[in-house]
Structure formats: structure tokens, C-alpha cells
Symmetry: C4
Amino acid sequence: MTPGRLETFADGVFAIAATLLIIDVGLPENFDDSLGRELLDIWPQYAAYAISFVTIGIMWVNHHMLIRQIERVDRTFLFLNIGLLACIAFVPFPTRILAEFVRGDEGQAAALLYGITLTVTAVFFISVWLYASRGGRLLHPNADPKEVSGITRSYLPGTPMYAAATLVAFVSPEASAVLFGVIAAFYMISSSFFGRVPGE
Amino acid sequence: MTPGRLETFADGVFAIAATLLIIDVGLPENFDDSLGRELLDIWPQYAAYAISFVTIGIMWVNHHMLIRQIERVDRTFLFLNIGLLACIAFVPFPTRILAEFVRGDEGQAAALLYGITLTVTAVFFISVWLYASRGGRLLHPNADPKEVSGITRSYLPGTPMYAAATLVAFVSPEASAVLFGVIAAFYMISSSFFGRVPGE
Amino acid sequence: MTPGRLETFADGVFAIAATLLIIDVGLPENFDDSLGRELLDIWPQYAAYAISFVTIGIMWVNHHMLIRQIERVDRTFLFLNIGLLACIAFVPFPTRILAEFVRGDEGQAAALLYGITLTVTAVFFISVWLYASRGGRLLHPNADPKEVSGITRSYLPGTPMYAAATLVAFVSPEASAVLFGVIAAFYMISSSFFGRVPGE
Amino acid sequence: MTPGRLETFADGVFAIAATLLIIDVGLPENFDDSLGRELLDIWPQYAAYAISFVTIGIMWVNHHMLIRQIERVDRTFLFLNIGLLACIAFVPFPTRILAEFVRGDEGQAAALLYGITLTVTAVFFISVWLYASRGGRLLHPNADPKEVSGITRSYLPGTPMYAAATLVAFVSPEASAVLFGVIAAFYMISSSFFGRVPGE
């Protein structure tokens, strides 16, 4: 199997997981207010949709950066990737729970579920990369060492950042949710801090 | 990242968003009439499905016209595209709301939601294009200037047209919904008015 | 736009529409029988799933046969294809209705809806092909005339066959449903009657 | 039709079927416990999601190994593949039933449904392969005989393994469900026992 085929399958999972998020956006079955007010009232659903869509989008961008460095695929790499994709495809569920419960008494459990999902996803991400790059195991022979170490530096903070944002849920679920959005914005705007800008 | 990879991911989101529209077409849980009458009665759902499917289809065609002019992709272009795709993938929600509420007392809020979604999508669309084309930033060096300005002329009216159709909702939600269909038909039939006919 | 890009988008819609069919397979909310008996009792859902999946699969195969003959794409061809894909993506809805109602008093409306959908799809299919092939408008210059007329002969019976099976619903909805399965089987087993066998 | 096109369509179905699994993960409509406890209580849903996702992932890997050996596609091969894909796309339904019922009185029917689905899928899988490889019917002329017989040896145990795990449901549905997970792990970890390691 070539990296290209894995990329096609992964593209599919990323695109479908992101697009499925909209299924869980909806009105409550019964509501007393006007439709207009109700559509405004469910703004946490829009926010959760946006955060998860952008997070999946960023992970898709990063996954491509990763695959671009890979020359060949072995079984372990393949199954680490299936684990990663299973996490990505899982994101719509915690997104739905977060959107529904974050503002209520049960916000803590909702934010923890969301945060644990993203933290585990980040662990899979860095595992996929470290497995492939350690000793240049699966890399192109002519992979640029500066680019390789740039990717490593760009991925390493993912797990602790998501873990920290998850722990914040014990203090304030809303703050935790905001942090997941901040991390996404951070990756979008300033990943160049870590020395890697794709396509430039 | 090459424009080709972005195109693959975008193709996925366009195709999935369009195909997911059918999930929201359905009968009410209880109905007193015969099945046949009920299937006719839910015609706004069919109309909303058709308008949104064709609108997404047109945007997919336009997105390809756009990508075809692009030589390289930078981070800003990538994230503007993720924003655009987040709007496209959002369309099933306002479509569902429009189909359910357009004929009732709450039609105005439903048409506004639908219209705002399409207007914001159009804003992202023209932003993606203007960012890429200004000063030829990301264009192929040999991009045909006539074709480039043709695309600009073809995209520019999108935002004001959708914004105008949205404002009509304050007068008549039904008229607003009809206008969204008219805009789709207009783009299908006569985009050659703006000097661009793809594939010809 | 090249036929290849259209093919990618169409592949997506065919694959998603077929795979979405499973969402509508499910148990009734409440049931008195044992789970085992209930799982057997909903066999019309399995049958409807199978007929629609295979029908979409056949149309996907036929769509590739068609695209293979095409050299270039114009706007009319593109929008006829979007119409065709809107029909394909619509199939999960009548499938759900057919599965739920075919055995009851309302079977006729359900079978009519299903049949009309497939008939309109067949009309779009032959329109796409006749538009592309009339006078060789969009065909490869070296397209084999025998193959071209073979495709025409293979597609032409689609519309009358589906229309006839639809009309049977006025006599017996169940017979109509069986006929949709027979047509699918017929296309799978014996399309060589019409002189075309893809890949051979 | 080339094997490449079939691969694209199959990639789509595999990716969508796997990603759709998450739609069926959810909380019961009403629950008395805290959200946190409830999220832990539905662990069979997570387990079923993981087993089915990995099972579909493995079948996707195996399908690529298979397609890589194929030079050309004939009609029978195509329709055997559509049958295989219809089984793969069906998996979300038995997964949902298994997750909901495996712990209760009705666990046996749920495990049987899941097991029969995977067994039939395995039958289609080996049929697709035996049809293509018997006498080298559709294989590349230069296909490595060792690799071909390695694939055969790797696929043959699939059907009896799934059939055996299905029969265990008559004794214990939970044990049966565990076995489906074990088979997935077995294929992931030790398929090299059968002499084939893709990408190495």
C-alpha cells in the first residue's frame, strides 16, 4: 500500500466526519419562544460546530504535512492511522454532548468527554508521527531534516495543550470549551511559531 | 500542500453536504391524511432539497473554476477555504429549518437563517478568490487575465444577490425562498452573462 | 473542467447515497415481540436496502461507462449531471417510505413515489447520454461507434421499464416493488443482451 | 472500467460506512443518573463503535491488497464487489443493535445479527478473491504466485472464524461480541502468520 491510498481513505474520513457534524445541529423538539429567538438560543451548537469543524480541518492539514514526508507504509503505521481516524470520526459525538450540556449543571462531564477525545486524538497523532520519523523509519530518504524536526516541534505541544484545556473543565466547563476554540485559532494563526508553514 | 489535495478534500465536503440533505426530508411523525396526500403536502421539503442541492452543485463547479487558476496554496488560503467549506457543510441545517417553517408564522426567521448562511458563504467565496488573485498572489504565472477578471466579475454579484434575497424575507419569506431558487437558476442558465463558461 | 473531476464528484455522491441507505434501516420505537422476531419482521427494510443499493451501484457502473466516452464537458452537460446526481441522492427517501409502507394500506403511494423517483432518474440518465452523444457532441473523436450505439441501446429501455414497474403499483404495490428488484437483477445479469459488457 | 475506479468507489463506501458509525452512538432519551455516569454506562456503544470501525478498516486494507493484484475488471467481479460493499455499508445497523441489546435478555439475537452480517461479508470477500484469482482470471500477468497464495491463505480463515464467533452467541452473546473484537485484533497484530504483510 502506498501513502497515496492511505491519504485518499483518510481524506474521506476527515471530510465525512467534518460534514456529519451538521446532523447534530438542531432545534429542541418543543420550544415556547419564537423560532428566531430559539435559533439564537442554540448558539452553543453553532460554536461547537465551528470549533470541531476547524479542529478537524487543522488535523487534516497536519495529516497531509505528515503524509508528504512518508515514503512507505508498514502495518503498524497503517493501524496507528486507523486508530487516529477512529478518533477523528468519533468527534461528532462529544461535539453533540458538549453543545447540549456545556451551559447546564452537567457541563463538566460534557467538557471532559470532549477534551479526552481530543487529547487521545493528539496522542495518536504524535504516535503516528514519531513511529514514522524515529530514525527516519518510513521517511523519504531525502526528507529535509529541518522540516522533519519542525513537524515534531509543531505536534508535540498538541497533547499537553489539549490535556490542560481538559483539566480546566474541573474548574469551569465553559472556560474549557473556550480553550478548545483558542487552541484551534492558535494552530491556525501561529503555527509558524513552531517553524512550519505548509505550502510556503 | 498542492491545490490538488485541497480539491480532493473540498470535493468530499461538497458531495457529502449535498447528499446529506436527503436525511432531513421526511414525513411528520403523525399525520391524519393519506400517505399520498402527505407526500404531496411536504413539497416545500422537495423544493428546499432541490434548491440547496443545485446551489451546492453550482458552488462546487465554481470552486473548481477557482482552483484551476491556482498554482500554490498558502496557510491563509487554506484556512479561508476551511471557512468556506464549514459554510457549505452548514447548509443542510438552514435547509431543514426553511423547509419546515417557511409556510408558517415563523417563516421570516427561517428565511433569514437560510439567507444569512448563503450570504456568508458568498462572502467567503469572494474572499478566497480575491485573496488568491490580488496581484496574482497564488495564480498560475500563465493564468489568462481575461479568464481571471471573468471569474471576478462572475463571483462579485453573489454576495449582493444573496443579501438582497435575504432582506426580502422581511417582506415575504416565501418570496425570499423563491429568490434563492431563482439565483441558482440564474447561475446555471446565464453565468455566461459574466463572461465565463466553464469547459467551453 | 475535465470529465475526471466530474467523475470524482459523482463517485462521491453515488457512494454516499448508497451508504446513507443504512441510516433508515431500524427497529420501530416500541415492539412487543422478541428482538429476534422483530429483526425478521422488518425484512422489507433489508429488501429495500438491497434493491436501492444495487440500483445505485448499477447506475454508478453505467455512469462510468458513459463518462469514459466523453472527451470534454460543457455547462449543459454539467447541470444535467447535477440533476442526475440530485435524483440519485434523493433515493434514500423513497426507499425509507417504501420499506415502511409497502405492506400496508398505503403501499400504493409508497411504490408510486419510489417508482417516480427511479423513472425521473432514468430520464435524466438518458438525457445526459443523448445530449453528450448526439452528433458526437462531447464524445472522444475516436469513440467506437459500435460502443456508442451499444450504450444508447442499453440505456433506452431504462425509462419505459421503470415507468411500467411504477404503473404496476396501481394494481399491486408489492408486485411493483418486486419489479424494481427484478429490473436491478436484469441489468446485473443480462445487460449483455444490449451488446455492452463493461471491462470485457 | 479500471480497477482504479472501483477502488475509488470502494474507498468511498469504506470511509463513509466507518464514519457513519458515530451517528448511532448516543445517550438514551431520558436518564436518571448524572451525565458523567451515563457517559460511562454506554461503554458498550464505544466498544461496538471501535470493533466495527477497526473491522471495516481491516477490510479496507485487505481490499486494497486484493485490488493491487487485479489487472482488469469484468462484470461478475464488479457485481461481487457491489455485493461486498452492500455488506460493508450494512455494518452500522447490526453495530447499533449489538450496542443496544448485547447486555440484556435479547443479547442473543443482537449478536447473531452482527455475526451473520460479518460472516456473509467474509463470504463475499473470499468469493471476490477466488473469482479473480482462480486460474489467474483477472490477475496481473506478473502477479507473484507466492503473494497470491498468501492472500488466499490470509482470507480463507475469515469465514469460519466469523461463523464460529457467531455460533458462540447461542452460549453467550457477550462472549460472542468479545470474539468479534479478538478477530479484529488478531487480523491487526498477526496476519503475518499467514505470510502477507502489506507494504513490507
